[in-house]
């Protein structure tokens, strides 16, 4: 019979896929940041994956901002309910150090780039530790209002405009933590980029940075959530402020507020996945399968259609297209775009993992003064 081989093929296919499906969990819980960011992941990763795997379900949890503490509590209770967690680079370092995140064999567990490069090469510098699978590059940078009458038509052109209250009077919005602020203060106090952490490692260097921040302290409103600066800019509460570049994109392009980007000395950071340590085999198999698909070249490029954060793979860069709703070209809005990245810093995770506690103490004491 002619049909026989086809039947055989189908039955083998079903059998083998049935075997695979039996090895993998039927649902998984993915933890992320919520809002526009989660949405971009759902559109670019979750929906295509679920379409390709009928009967499989993804549960979305929005607790990334407390992921580190919760993962630790789960590990202590020996009841890990999360399968994949989206965290920022420094948090992944902490989770990896604490043994709370699984180590990844990048070249084996991830897909090679479409240009044939190995994952290790394709992701390059964004592979900051053994547990972290990067998705995007984002940056912390400044946005300013373009309609401040007191500025007499002048526009901030470099980072130091933030510290120049005579030319650019008005309130500033800065993050309520030492990280990034100390670096910016030193850069505007004449310290070279290469010497930054050498200077910061001395008590005098920290005093110097705080003294520079002292000059604008009375003009600063501090933020602790990324949404605060855009809101304050829109409310005219502040004239200039730091936040994540995607938030500013939202205010400028989607909400059409008179705000512009000041890309000078933006600080790059990576955001990506970690897999909780000690997952049961079936769940682990599912997570690794999902990871391989959702961090390939095309998927990472797709995410940029929904949010203005750059893909972490080099091979994804040329594939970045237009915004899915606004229809504007996304490449000029990427932090990594050469025009935006003339001068920049990269979050120094190693230095901060050593010094954050101490800097925090000094910074809090300075704030309370």
């Amino acid at each position: 019979m002619k049909l026989k081989p086809i039947f055989a093929a189908i039955s083998i296919a079903t059998f083998s896929s049935g075997l695979l499906a039996a090895d993998m969990a039927k649902e998984m819980t993915i933890v992320s940041w919520g809002g526009a960011y989660s949405n971009s992941q759902i559109k670019a990763y979750h929906e295509p994956y679920m379409a390709a795997n009928p009967g499989f379900k993804i549960i979305n949890d929005e607790s990334s901002n407390e992921a580190v503490a919760k993962l630790r509590a789960m590990a202590e209770a020996k009841n890990i309910t999360w399968d994949l967690v989206d965290v920022e680079g420094p948090d992944s370092q902490r989770l990896c150090d604490e043994g709370l995140a699984m180590e990844i064999d990048f070249d084996k567990d991830l897909a090679p780039g479409t240009d044939g490069s190995t994952p290790t090469k394709d992701f390059g510098d964004s592979l900051i530790n053994k547990c972290f699978i990067p998705q995007i590059v984002f940056s912390t940078t400044f946005g300013y209002r373009t309609d401040v009458p007191e500025w007499n038509g002048k526009k901030p052109e470099d980072l130091c405009a933030v510290f120049d209250t005579t030319t650019f009077p008005g309130k500033r919005s800065l993050e309520k933590r030492p990280k990034k602020n100390l670096e910016w203060a030193l850069l505007c106090d004449g310290v070279e980029k290469e010497k930054l952490y050498e200077v910061l490692s001395t008590p005098e260097g920290v005093d110097k940075a705080l003294a520079k921040l002292d000059t604008i302290k009375k003009d600063v409103i501090w933020w602790s959530a990324g949404a605060e600066t855009p809101q304050r800019l829109a409310d005219k509460e502040v004239v200039i402020g730091s936040t994540y570049n995607g938030r500013l994109f939202d205010v400028i392009e989607e909400k059409k507020q008179p705000v512009a980007m000041l890309w000078d000395y933006q600080i790059f950071d990576f955001d990506g996945w970690v897999v909780p340590a000690n997952l049961p085999e079936d769940r682990k198999a599912r997570v690794m399968d999902f990871l391989k698909v959702s961090t390939d070249t095309q998927r990472l490029a797709d995410q940029a259609k929904y949010i203005s954060y750059g893909p972490a793979r080099a091979s994804s860069q040329p594939l970045v297209g237009k915004h899915a709703v606004l229809g504007i070209e996304m490449a000029p809005h990427m932090p990594s775009n050469p025009a935006n990245a003339k001068r920049f810093l990269v979050n120094n995770i190693e230095w901060w993992s050593n010094n954050e506690d101490e800097m925090n103490k000094k910074f809090e004491a300075w704030l309370a003064k």
């Binding site: 902490r94 150090d97 043994g99 501090w222 509460e237 954050e356 506690d357 004491a365 704030l367 309370a368």
Partner: protein, 415 residues
């Protein structure tokens, strides 16, 4: 004397005791579900958390041999430990690297001394390269100069014991050194100041709640039913609204380009340049928290005031008291129980708040709870969070005891 006996010959005392025991057991059984629930969900986790403030077993568990051999090492000798200690360090670390515990220890020690985190992260690679044929001491010194620094060894020795007072000292802006306990330099002191601020502001918030709540509770208790019901809804509506919504509403009202400033500018009471700073400082915290905690003052006051018969005031006045005397001598003393309940409820809630101070407090209006939250969720220094929490809990208990002395807790009533 002959013992009194029951009809069946058992001494009466025994029989009564038996009956009472049965009753007690029955009562215990009735409350058992609640008791077990509280024990499992409340007492055990809290005790477990509080014990973290002194737990330091990670050092001796990760480096068991090293901590033992360090016992004989004298930090005052200003000499590095001997070859034998370095060998034990190698053995311990080799084991730790296999179990991937070395980075955990690095994180722990980094709380005390910046730089330990990467030293221990790096040591994983260093240890795998070391050879038994060479001196371990020299190999460690070659791997990282921190292993030849007395500071590293002092730290290991200071934190060798299974229990430590290090977290508590840090929570009181102090530090362990080989020469004893020292206060931190002024630029590093934060916690004592924060504790003082938390208590001071909680007292002010409680006082403001009482000042604003007392007349409202009086109106609620004395107006005709129809109006007082309407007023009650006005008190309860914000109470049922989400905390974040209420806090955000205050932001909209109080910010410099906000509603209140806009109205004042429009009325010409302040100039455009002289807009008031009503938020992101202590004032912001005071206003927002007073509003949020007001119902906790009003409701106990109201329930006590409702039980005071109006005839007492009428009687006082008919006997010749002025309005003020009648209020102060007759009405007010009867409301003390409500004030007591409301004040302690408001104060204890205020002292532990952190969301509202974080959102509207700026730099001067944050509480100690904000630091606790930081250590729990961000720095993962749970020992420190536990120490701060224990101090806060002790402070509340002490204040409660003082309160009991002054007001008398048996006088407190909720209606």
């Amino acid at each position: 004397m002959e013992q009194i006996q029951t009809l069946n010959g058992v001494p009466l005392k025994k029989q009564i005791a038996r009956a009472l025991f049965k009753q007690k057991m029955r009562a215990l059984l009735l409350i058992a579900p609640l008791l077990i629930f509280i024990l499992i969900t409340f007492v055990i986790p809290i005790t477990d958390m509080l014990l973290r403030s002194i737990d330091n077993s990670i050092v001796s568990e990760t480096l068991p041999q090293t901590t033992t051999s360090l016992e004989t090492w004298d930090p005052k000798s200003a000499q590095l430990p001997d070859e034998a200690t370095y060998t034990t360090l190698y053995n311990d670390l080799k084991q730790a690297v296999e179990q991937k515990n070395h980075t955990k220890l690095g994180t722990r020690l980094n709380y005390e001394n910046s730089g330990m985190s990467s030293l221990f992260r790096k040591v994983g690679k260093d240890v795998s390269k070391m050879q038994a044929s060479l001196s371990y001491k020299e190999q460690f010194l070659a791997a990282d100069k921190a292993w030849g620094d007395l500071k590293t060894w002092n730290l290991l020795k200071l934190y060798s014991p299974e229990y430590t007072n290090g977290y508590f000292l840090a929570a009181l802006d102090m530090k362990k050194t080989p020469d004893g306990i020292e206060r931190l330099p002024e630029s590093d002191r934060i916690y004592l100041n924060l504790f003082a601020r938390t208590i001071f502001m909680s007292i002010v918030i409680t006082a403001l709640c009482l000042l604003l709540g007392y007349p409202i509770a009086w109106l609620l208790a004395n107006l005709p039913m129809r109006t007082s019901n309407l007023l009650m809804i006005l008190v309860l509506l914000p109470f049922w609204t989400s905390l974040l919504v209420r806090t955000s509403a205050w932001k909209v009202l109080l910010q410099q380009q906000g509603v209140i400033n806009d109205i004042l500018v429009w009325l010409g009471m302040i100039s455009h340049a002289g807009r008031l700073e009503l938020i992101n400082n202590q004032l912001g915290t005071l206003i927002a928290m007073t509003h949020i905690l007001l119902p906790f003052m009003i409701l106990p006051l109201y329930s006590v005031m409702r039980t005071i018969p109006p005839s007492y005031m009428r009687a006082a006045k008919s006997l010749g008291a002025t309005d003020w005397t009648a209020f102060w001598r007759v009405y007010f003393p009867q409301t003390i129980a409500g004030i007591g309940a409301g004040a302690i409820l408001t104060f204890i809630l205020a002292i532990g708040y952190y969301i509202t101070p974080e959102l509207v407090g700026g730099t001067q209006g944050t509480f100690i709870s904000n630091r606790i939250a930081y250590h729990i969720s961000s720095s993962l220094n749970w020992g420190m969070a536990a120490a701060l929490g224990t101090i806060l809990l002790t402070l509340v208990l002490v204040l409660y005891w003082v309160y009991d002395r002054i007001v008398g807790i048996d006088k407190v009533k909720l209606g």
